[in-house]
């Protein structure tokens, strides 16, 4: 890897952490449970790394490991987004009916 790549990755990390602090401090305390399930689903973006390892099929072991990682991440994506939406639907200003 080029040195420049390392530095640009560190820049991304630093900036994303600041953005994260800013937006998350603005999240209503009412929604801290959905916040946790949503960020959990978002960090399951790890699936992109797993997909390549499972798909490049370099060795049997790496393919199996990659596939398990894809399944674990997909579980988080699906259940994370679905349950976040399910919870958020319940937050209403006034009672229905």
């Amino acid at each position: 890897m080029h040195t420049l790549d390392l530095w640009s990755m560190l820049f991304v990390f630093m900036l994303a952490t600041f953005v994260g602090f800013q937006v998350i401090q603005n999240v209503s305390r009412l929604l801290h449970t959905p916040l946790m399930s949503l960020t959990n689903a978002i960090s399951a973006i790890a699936i992109v790394g797993s997909i390549i390892i499972a798909g490049e099929e370099k060795t049997v072991l790496s393919t199996v490991i990659g596939a398990v990682a894809v399944a674990a991440s997909m579980t988080n994506i699906v259940s994370g987004f679905l349950i976040t939406d399910r919870m958020l639907k319940m937050f209403r200003e006034r009672k229905p009916r």
């Binding site: 953005v19 946790m36 960020t39 973006i45 490991i65 990682a69 699906v78 939406d85 919870m87």
Partner: protein, 464 residues
């Protein structure tokens, strides 16, 4: 760079922006569901962009894994909302596992091809350490929350020394590996020690500390994704991982502040165990009230505050609480809910349960907002909360919870505490709220007692 590479990177860039919007929209309940849509859109884009990757020679295992993940994920999203803390812990475990596995696979592949550099090894060691300790630690937390494992802290002699020693060996082996990436024999040691450390880290943690621990594990899961981003040189991973990591960190800080404790005190303090010794203190006299008495008091009140705690979730009493809210508001009595940040087993737990029971979120107040109003409140009803309303936290320097911010239930004109027995709460501390002159105890299961109060109130509706 080929055209496809540019396309893939473009989807990653768009995904990162959508993830930031997603969290931005979560700032209020009005736009929150839009946030979920943005997250789904970002994720879909990034996955499609990745599937275009030229290094992928076959899609069969990817497809199988996507189907398996969906098949597990969909039912996991149907859990009752009282079980959301467990589900969250489980998803941190999956996140940690994925990071640990990808790190392991990358190490093996690069070792085989002789492409391990010091930097790559360093990033992999961080990823694997955080990933696997989050995996087993979160499984332990989920087991404790589901009560398949004992919820009381498990301690043994020299626990902290042993744990830290293990961690030190794991880090030491990792650093040696960075210096000499070909000493592969050390890699399994790092893996096993990380797995073991995760278990040992959570053993001494008790139920009341779960909100902090879940938030910390959330942060670790995010950071392991960041480390994976450095391993794979993937910026969308670094971005999403940093968002998750900072979110978990902020929540941990809020939880620690709400308990007036430090991270190290939560992790290494074994709170419940220490405090249980004090539980033997003599029981003071308390006044008790029947549901009928409570209904009479409520009818003459003009402002009521309900203070829910984990006991409400255990008794599944949130729907009865809402019926009480309906009865009171119908009579023009102001009814609000005071939510302590650490009430329940994860951040925001009470809000979600009450929202599910169709309590409008506008009736839910934070501790700091409601405390100044407490002296004007006629009746404070404590449902399954204990330590978060214990006035000893304000003045008793000898109390283990001294200094913890509490909801000032004792300042209300009348306090009604619904409780099964006089047994002390999780922390094993006697609660002087109950022996106060203005406090009445309504003994029994929260759901049953509230049901009777509601029945008494609704029975009166015709007479008045």
């Amino acid at each position: 760079m080929s055209l496809v590479d540019h396309l893939t990177q473009a989807t990653y860039l768009a995904a990162a922006a959508l993830f930031i919007f997603s969290l931005r929209w979560l700032s209020t309940p009005k736009t929150a569901r839009q946030g979920v849509m943005a997250g789904v859109a970002g994720m879909t884009l990034a996955i499609v962009g990745t599937l275009l990757h030229p290094e992928i020679v076959s899609y069969r295992w990817i497809l199988v894994a996507l189907v398996v993940g969906t098949a597990i994920g969909v039912p996991l999203s149907w859990v009752p909302l009282t079980a959301v803390p467990q589900r969250t812990a489980l998803s941190h475990a999956f996140g940690g596992l994925a990071a640990g596995l990808v790190g392991t696979a990358k190490y093996m592949l690069w070792l085989q091809d002789g492409e391990l550099t010091a930097f790559r090894t360093f990033a992999i060691v961080v990823e694997v350490l955080l990933g696997y300790l989050t995996f087993t630690g979160s499984l332990m937390a989920a087991g404790k929350l589901q009560e398949v494992l004992p919820t009381r802290p498990i301690t043994y002699k020299n626990q902290n020394v042993i744990n830290l020693l293990l961690l030190a060996i794991a880090i030491g082996s990792g650093l040696y590996l960075v210096a000499r990436p070909d000493t592969w024999q050390l890699f399994p040691i790092v893996v096993v020690l990380s797995l073991l450390f995760g278990v040992l880290l959570i053993l001494p943690i008790g139920g009341a500390d779960m909100p902090t621990v879940i938030s910390l594990l959330n942060s670790y899961a995010g950071l392991s994704a960041v480390a994976m981003g450095f391993v794979l040189e993937n910026k969308v991973l670094i971005t999403a991982g940093a968002l998750d990591g900072s979110s978990g960190f902020i929540l941990s800080v809020i939880m620690c502040k709400a308990m007036n404790r430090s991270f190290s005190n939560v992790l290494f303090g074994a709170f419940g165990q220490v405090a249980a010794v004090q539980a033997a203190a003599e029981a003071k006299a308390v006044k008790s009230a029947t549901p009928r008495d409570v209904a009479d008091i409520l009818e003459n009140a003009s402002s009521v505050v309900v203070i829910p705690g984990y006991g409400m979730a255990v008794a599944q009493a949130q729907h009865r609480v809402r019926e009480l809210y309906d009865q009171l508001t119908k009579r023009g009595i102001e009814c609000r809910f005071a939510i302590h940040p650490v009430a329940g087993r994860m951040p925001g737990h009470m809000n979600v349960l009450l929202a599910e029971a169709e309590v409008p979120y506008t009736a839910l107040s934070e501790m700091d907002d409601i405390n100044p109003d407490m002296p004007q409140v006629d009746v404070a009803i404590v449902v399954g909360a204990n330590d978060v309303v214990n006035p000893a936290a304000r003045h008793d320097k000898a109390s283990p919870i001294f200094g913890m911010p509490i909801i000032n239930a004792d300042k209300a004109k009348t306090v009604i505490a619904i409780k099964r027995t006089m047994n002390p709460g999780f922390a094993g501390i006697e609660n002087e709220l109950y022996s106060g002159d203005n406090c009445l105890m309504a003994f029994g299961d929260a759901k049953a007692v509230l049901g009777e109060i509601v029945k008494a109130l609704s029975g009166d509706a015709g007479i008045h």
